[in-house]
């Protein structure tokens, strides 16, 4: 009955598909390579192929179509605005290209986050960033921050939804297209939302400190990541994507 719309993207959906079993490091590598190649592609055909690849991976993930619809629906307005400017400035082909690129990118991020549990996301990121420790970068803290952001964003969305419900129940709406009032209502939610964020952050930091969490210290993990043949294939594919594109274009 309730849904977090675009925020469903950031929530892990348990499953046992091929994508669920792939090592998070391979997934990060593939998504990074895919995204860079996608952004640097200049032809409509290439964009279409990238979209088809993303759709094929979506089918492999066995995620529900409703999730896909919820995510794309949330970005509908953004895509529409971008299309308007693209058609006006660069023509219909450019608009189609930007639409395909956006859909492919959203789909890929959704697949990455929906098929990887937060603890594996964190561990994968930590392992990937570990070489940077030699340069003095606090990779542990970065990984923790990223994971907390991913875990807590849906909760914040839930808070926001409750506040919006509270507004809705306390009087008639001025209509969907009364943007001035809608904007005013949204702005009035900023203060309580910020307060909620700070309160949650404070409670979380207290809870972490009470469990002896030391920022930046090396940590042991419950999930031991291990690259197998499947993950190596995904990594090789990730490396091949830019080369294939470079040869075609």
């Amino acid at each position: 009955m309730s849904s977090f719309g675009a925020l469903s993207t950031l929530q892990y959906v348990p499953g046992d598909s091929f994508l669920h079993r792939v090592d998070p490091r391979s997934k990060y590598g593939f998504v990074a390579s895919y995204s860079i190649s996608l952004v640097s592609s200049h032809s409509l055909t290439a964009s279409l192929i990238y979209t088809l690849v993303a759709l094929f991976l979506f089918l492999l993930s066995k995620l529900s179509l409703i999730l896909l619809w919820e995510n794309l629906r949330a970005f509908f307005v953004v895509i529409l605005i971008l299309n308007y400017f693209q058609v006006a400035l660069n023509g219909i082909e450019a608009a189609a290209q930007i639409t395909l690129k956006l859909i492919s990118f959203i789909l890929m991020v959704m697949l990455l986050l929906s098929t990887t549990p937060p603890e594996k996301q964190m561990e994968g990121l930590r392992k990937l960033l570990s070489p940077l420790r030699r340069l003095g970068v606090k990779t542990e803290s970065c990984a923790v921050m990223f994971t907390i952001a991913v875990i807590y964003l849906p909760l914040l969305m839930e808070d926001l939804m409750r506040m919006m419900q509270a507004q809705r129940i306390r009087g008639p709406r001025y209509g969907r297209w009364n943007l001035a009032w809608r904007g005013r209502d949204m702005i009035s939610l900023l203060t309580p939302l910020l307060l909620t964020i700070f309160r949650r952050a404070e409670r979380l930091s207290d809870a972490m400190e009470s469990r002896c969490f030391l920022p930046g210290s090396e940590r042991t993990v419950f999930y031991q990541l291990k690259l197998d043949r499947r993950d190596i294939i995904v990594l090789i594919l990730a490396l091949l994507i830019p080369f294939i594109q470079f040869n075609f274009e």
């Binding site: 009955m1 509270a166 507004q167 809705r168 306390r170 009087g171 008639p172 939610l189 307060l195």
Partner: protein, 270 residues
Amino acid sequence: MERKAVGGITFSIPDGQFAAIMGPSGSGKTTLGQLGAGLFMPETGHVYVDNTPTNSRKFRSEISNKVAYVFQFPEHQLFEETVFRDIRYGLRRKKYSELDITEKVKDAMECVGLSFEAYKDRSPFQLSGGEQRRVALAGAIVLEPKILILDEPTSGLDPLTRGKFLALLSTLQRTKHMTIVCITHHLQDALEYADRLVILNNGRLVYDLKPAEIRYALEDPAIALVPTPLLRFRKELEFFFPGKIDSELIQENKLLAFITDRLMRIGDEP
């Protein structure tokens, strides 16, 4: 992962009744309350509020005129800079004049025990939990709804404030003839103030009974309801005075009156 929160529930609440919705955590109490307030639309079935279906978007304004909902956590309900602005939020949408708004806000604040002058310019975020709940309640009753739905309104309140808050609800029910639906975990509060208990389990309605009939639910092992000290004491009394204990004897005042009466009789005996 989606799961069915509530299903197969059919019941109606007559005007002016104080109904308590109870059940273990995750049994669907909040969802049922939100369905009643029109915050959710049921996937199947119908919810009617005063003969108005909540399923349709076109009746949304009508529903929000009739139902007020007080959330479990007042911080979800307070969003304006001052207490006055927060309480008047709904009234401004209904396009009342500023004079009427001030008058109504003042009445609502005094009704919930908040001094208008002392609180009107304070930030709702700097108030204590009990005060925040009162502001949230004032924001709801200022709209003069026919139905007031409260989601665990007394959680986190000290016993004294809790008692005062429930007495306030009881007064609202009597004086304004408001229908009150209170979602609660406190069995004794429900027995003291409610006219009816609606007990849910796993998203289904399992008992819909008068407070005096609570023993049926207590005897059911599937329902995680723990008898209150008063109910346990009543059971002991039933053991000593078989057949002489009235089934209505589930409220503190009635029990005290019963004991006093018994003691007086003992005192009168030669």
